[in-house]
């Protein structure tokens, strides 16, 4: 059984269709890059999979639980990293992790916080306020927050936005490490080079439907960009 499954998923805002009868499956342990131009429905799909939005029609299952009926069970299995860091900048790094740990009903002890901060290279910054962190550090802490409850599925929505080269390289390492640990990853991005380098499969959305869905083995960034242009009819990054 796939870990993520959508059947004839449709989402309309007022009368405007954003997703049209979308069928998608993601197997356990897969790393899928979700591509598409702005307005193709990537973020809407991500929000639906997280339970932040309700479908107009169709079925969404994550880990065998159905949305929106079993939303709490689904949310417990998902960790989300977005272009917004989803952190409180008036709290320290450790306080942020403690707070989110409590929301996920974890035994939030010093060892868990230390371990989580160490995993993202912030072991010495636990007592520092998040507002003093660089964008890259905030994004790394955001990953620690998303991994805190050891979710089966990690959803990344444009995680590279605003990161410099060093920050992006650090994020690459964390994504690879999370994938190696067995997390299933779904990442929406405009960065085709990174998608080709990191993911195992590319799904290109166009006009709310899947325009292309194929493995990325042996495909480099340039070849993926060609496919992207053909499928979406516009240049990459648009």
């Amino acid at each position: 059984m796939p870990l993520i499954e959508t059947i004839a998923l449709t989402k309309r805002y007022n009368l405007t269709p954003v997703l049209r009868k979308l069928n998608l499956t993601v197997e356990k342990g897969e790393f899928v890059a979700l591509l598409g131009h702005n307005g193709s429905g990537k973020s809407t799909l991500m929000r639906l999979l997280c339970g932040l939005s309700k479908p107009t029609a169709g079925v969404i299952r994550v880990g065998g639980w159905e949305l929106p009926k079993e939303a709490a069970a689904v949310r417990a299995q998902i960790g989300v990293v977005s272009h917004k860091v989803l952190l409180y900048d008036t709290l320290t790094a450790a306080e942020n992790l403690r707070f989110f740990g409590r929301l996920y009903n974890l035994q939030v002890d010093h060892a868990l916080i230390e371990r989580s901060l160490k995993a993202v290279g912030l072991a010495r910054r636990g007592d520092d306020l998040v507002r003093g962190f660089s964008r890259g550090m905030q994004q790394r802490l955001s990953i620690a927050r998303a991994l805190l409850h050891q979710p089966q599925v990690l959803i990344f929505d444009e995680p590279y936005t605003g990161l410099d080269q060093d920050g992006a390289a650090a994020l690459d390492g964390l994504l690879q490490s999370a994938h190696a640990q067995g997390h299933t990853i779904l990442m929406a991005t405009h960065d085709l080079e990174r998608a080709a380098a990191l993911a195992e499969r590319a799904v290109i959305l166009t006009k709310g439907q899947i325009g292309h869905d194929a493995p990325l083995a042996g495909i480099d960034g340039a070849a993926l960009a060609d496919t992207y242009r053909t499928v979406s009819g516009i240049a990459a990054g648009g």
Partner: protein
């Protein structure tokens, strides 16, 4: 993994808000300065005799508390909107009502703190003793009702561009019955009216609180839903 129990989630959100406030003093600081300036301006503007002052003092207290509260509510919910934190709360496997109750208790505590500080200051400025237990109870009930409506509406308006202007516009008509009952009860207490007068208004206030708390508790899930 089990979902966090309701009270654990409420406690975590409340604790986070207090922790952030103790560090930044963004809410209570702004609300406090506004409230003190407002009653100072009122005290100079209303150069009235003792009898006339006794008629308006309750209105001054509540207008000041309410506008300070609107200031705080906007900031409190803006803190959740910035960096997408409201989404982070909604992504957690907790009841959405727990998010509402956690935010509500925090907003109540911050607003009540300001209201409680105003009492001695107004006692000095207006020459009236405002230290009466029934007045404190009226403040508790009035602030609870107002922050309940405000927390729900601020969650909606904070998503809009004109949030600072929009909140008082949508909130005042809905919270008007609470304001009316609170002003009437306070005025009766301050003017040593017979207890049955202010007790009747306080009963109305308590009933309004029960209605608004129940309604807002039930509606919050729909307000944050897409």
């Amino acid at each position: 993994m089990k979902a966090a129990p309701f009270l654990t989630a409420v406690g975590a959100i409340l604790r986070k808000d207090i922790q952030a406030e103790l560090r930044g003093r963004e809410l209570v600081g702004a609300m406090g300065v506004f409230a003190l300036l407002a009653i100072l301006i009122f005290s100079f503007a209303l150069e009235l005799d003792r009898e006339a002052r006794s008629e308006v003092i309750s209105g001054v207290l509540w207008v000041t508390v309410i506008f300070a509260s609107i200031l705080g509510l906007n900031r409190s919910l803006a803190m959740e909107r910035d960096q997408g934190n409201l989404d982070a709360l909604l992504l957690a496997p907790i009841s959405r009502s727990a998010v509402f109750v956690g935010k509500l208790i925090g907003n109540f505590l911050f607003t009540f703190t300001i209201a409680a500080v105003l009492l001695p200051v107004m006692t000095v400025l207006y020459g009236f003793s405002l230290f009466a237990p029934p007045l404190l109870l009226t403040l508790v009930l009035g602030v609870a009702g107002f922050t309940t409506v405000g927390t729900l509406l601020a969650t909606m308006t904070v998503q809009t561009r004109a949030r600072e202007a929009l909140l008082p516009i949508v909130m005042m008509p809905i919270a008007l019955p609470i304001l009316l009952a609170a002003v009437r009860a306070s005025s009766a207490i301050m003017n040593d009216a017979p207890p049955e007068t202010w007790q009747a208004w306080m009963q109305i206030l308590a009933a309004l609180d029960a209605i608004f708390i129940t309604m807002c508790f039930l509606l919050f899930e729909y307000v944050v839903e897409e």
